[in-house]
Symmetry: C2
């Protein structure tokens, strides 16, 4: 909805803060993710709205009192270290303001915005200071799971498998979705057993994640960005860096335990015996070994945790992946190898925005899920798929990750 | 036994190769381990020898026909990349020769030596070329398990726990030893479920091992050796390198999921957001983070595999550890943390020589185990403990790992 309509609600309840429901933040250790709603001014619609079984009667009544606004959910990310760029963006887009488009002081009613991630604590003062808004904090795990469940249940062509350069969308039957293992790969990695809406448990994790890839990559190459390092890994070959089974066995397999000569015996193990210095190794080979080491490890630990709880499906999210074919391939192969084909690795198109979507959803007044579920029921999935003009696919070389979903919300 | 006595046997059977039973090799990806027997000339003993229940009648008969020689099992390691230093050592010590002390050509009967590890294939030709000996290859896993079982069952004060700088020897009742998880940390890591003598299965492993620590450490610091890098890690602090939970949460814990502010959220994650170059980080801090990252990861994957098979005891071996207090502490804490105290991490004093001991044992004519078991039964454990003058304890700063065990063998 646009700020003016928001203000109607704000003024209608002078005792409460002004809630800006069309913006939510997920401020992680490395990246700051934004989700915000923009209205398509031309198709408003006040028609009766169907209720999905998941919604309570109370909520449905509340919903009926609000007009429906069609528009887009927009996704944008910034580096957390450049938090001020993000604040400038919000300021320029006036995403944080109610009807106070001309003045920037928050006035008597401090505006509050839904936010999750550690940065919602760390940067709370900065947002107050620079934008005069309070961050309405939501728990990170709650948001992650809410976002994943929403995207998997509601958004068309959200989940897909990726193996041997073959991408295949998976139809998710929401009655057959749970339980699953959610592996969120951010700076670190969290592993969550999800059994339903709000029913989940963090069962494991590892500190060897996206921050390790980029951190070690930054120390070992001259790359200036995560994406540059990822790009570089495309051209690399890990055989120059890793000690393979064949390197130990003089080119032979160690067939007795099913290890082929090309299996990695020791990541970075070949740099031990060599007389070479760091400068003698190709940065692309280093990037490739790093990516392979970290993806393998995450795939293995994920499988071992899926095994513990008998979970057949592992959904990988988080901004480490960026729909990078080699990363997805390595994760899939690792899960397939260790589980002997029992478990399946799947990916989400909005992988990096699970927490932000969850924070956005956390204000139920949108009735977003309700509406979208109805639209799905109406067999019009196109309404829910990405607006093509805004898709940024890494398969086209782009890794920006900013996207939008066409959707409808209630004017709260 | 000494070479002369060996020759007696060699000549007694002109149709067979000459077997040098007093030397065995385990040639790994990074390190080449030697085990060899030296006789104490002064106490020979031809007395009747008791038979342990584990030995077959046939073997026991064979054993009785041989005199008993008291002496020492000696342990020595070389870098595999300096394989020629090892060959020079064998040459100088004449470990490879029978009575041919003066001449170095193997003559008509090519001498063969028990060897395991990938290098026993890779360097077979080199040993023939330089020493005129053939390597009698034994399977790596067989030797690893045989060596671990032997040391745990027979050698006094072999196993110990290490936590919070407290080392405690564990008495192993061999009737209560199995099953256990054997985690061998060499260049890479192998995880083996051991259920008895010769009863085992390789259940998992990881490529993030000792070769990764030394390989990445070599690329990131100016260290010239694995031990130098390990030493360096003592003085380091990982907080300067790793992204801690507190760094993300503005100094706060993420208590809801039991993560303290000092827990590592992302290994090397702090080097992402910083403007610093590699030169701005202290090498000791980098070494510390590397060691912590790799030890944590091995501890976690070990625990997850112990859990799969309901194994309560995890024995860690391999040359990565080197009785390094911080490494053992990290592995113990990881196993304890993930298993909530259910599983226990234990270490072996001859951690690095499991495979070499197994290869040495693989020629049963020693009756070594038989004899030592008898000596244990005779309540004379001192005979089996290390000869004090040769202990090299890392707690005294030394990490050489060369040691000897007093023992007796049959003159084959």
């Amino acid at each position: 909805m646009d700020p003016r309509e928001l203000q109607i609600e704000a003024n209608s309840d002078p005792n409460s803060d002004t809630h800006v429901y069309h913006l939510a933040l997920d401020i992680g250790g490395s990246l700051n993710k934004l989700v915000y709603f923009t209205k398509d001014d031309d198709h408003s619609d006040d028609g009766e709205v169907g209720i999905s079984p998941r919604n309570t009667l109370e909520k449905s009544k509340a919903s009926r009192n609000h007009p429906v606004l069609k528009g887009k959910l927009n996704f944008k990310k910034f580096e957390t270290s450049k938090i001020n760029d993000c604040i400038d963006f919000i300021k320029t887009m006036k995403l944080h303001l109610g009807d106070r488009q001309q003045q920037e002081s928050p006035g008597n009613h401090p505006i509050s915005i839904k936010a999750t991630g550690g940065g919602s604590y760390k940067y709370a003062d900065l947002f107050m200071e620079r934008l005069g808004i309070t961050l309405d904090k939501e728990d990170e795990m709650d948001c992650l799971v809410a976002g994943a469940n929403f995207l998997l249940e509601v958004v068309d062509r959200e989940a897909f498998t990726y193996m041997a350069d073959h991408k295949q969308f998976v139809h998710i039957d929401k009655n057959d979705l749970y339980p699953y293992l959610l592996v969120n790969i951010g700076s670190g990695v969290g592993m969550i057993k999800v059994e339903g809406d709000g029913e989940f448990e963090r069962v494991s994790g590892t500190s060897i994640g996206g921050g390790t890839f980029w951190g070690l990559g930054k120390l070992l190459t001259k790359c200036k960005s995560f994406d540059e390092l990822l790009e570089l890994s495309y051209q690399g070959n890990n055989r120059a860096i890793d000690m393979l089974v064949g390197d130990i066995y003089g080119g032979m397999d160690y067939s007795k335990i099913g290890l082929s000569s090309t299996a990695i015996a020791s990541s970075f193990g070949k740099t031990v015996s060599d007389k070479k210095e760091r400068e003698d190794y190709k940065p692309e080979d280093i990037a490739r070994s790093l990516l392979r080491m970290i993806s393998n490890n995450i795939g293995q630990i994920s499988y071992l945790n899926a095994l513990r709880f008998g979970l057949k499906r592992i959904f990988f999210g988080g901004f480490f992946i960026r729909r990078h074919p080699f990363t997805m391939d390595t994760l899939s192969v690792a899960v397939n190898f260790w589980s002997k084909g029992e478990a399946k690795a799947m990916f989400l198109r909005h992988e990096g925005f699970l927490g932000a979507v969850g924070a956005f959803m956390s204000s139920d007044k949108h009735g977003l899920k309700e509406l979208l579920i109805k639209q799905v029921a109406q067999q019009s999935p196109t309404k829910l798929s990405f607006s093509v003009d805004k898709i940024r696919s890494p398969l086209d070389g782009e890794l920006n990750g900013d996207e939008s979903i066409e959707c409808s919300v209630y004017a709260a």
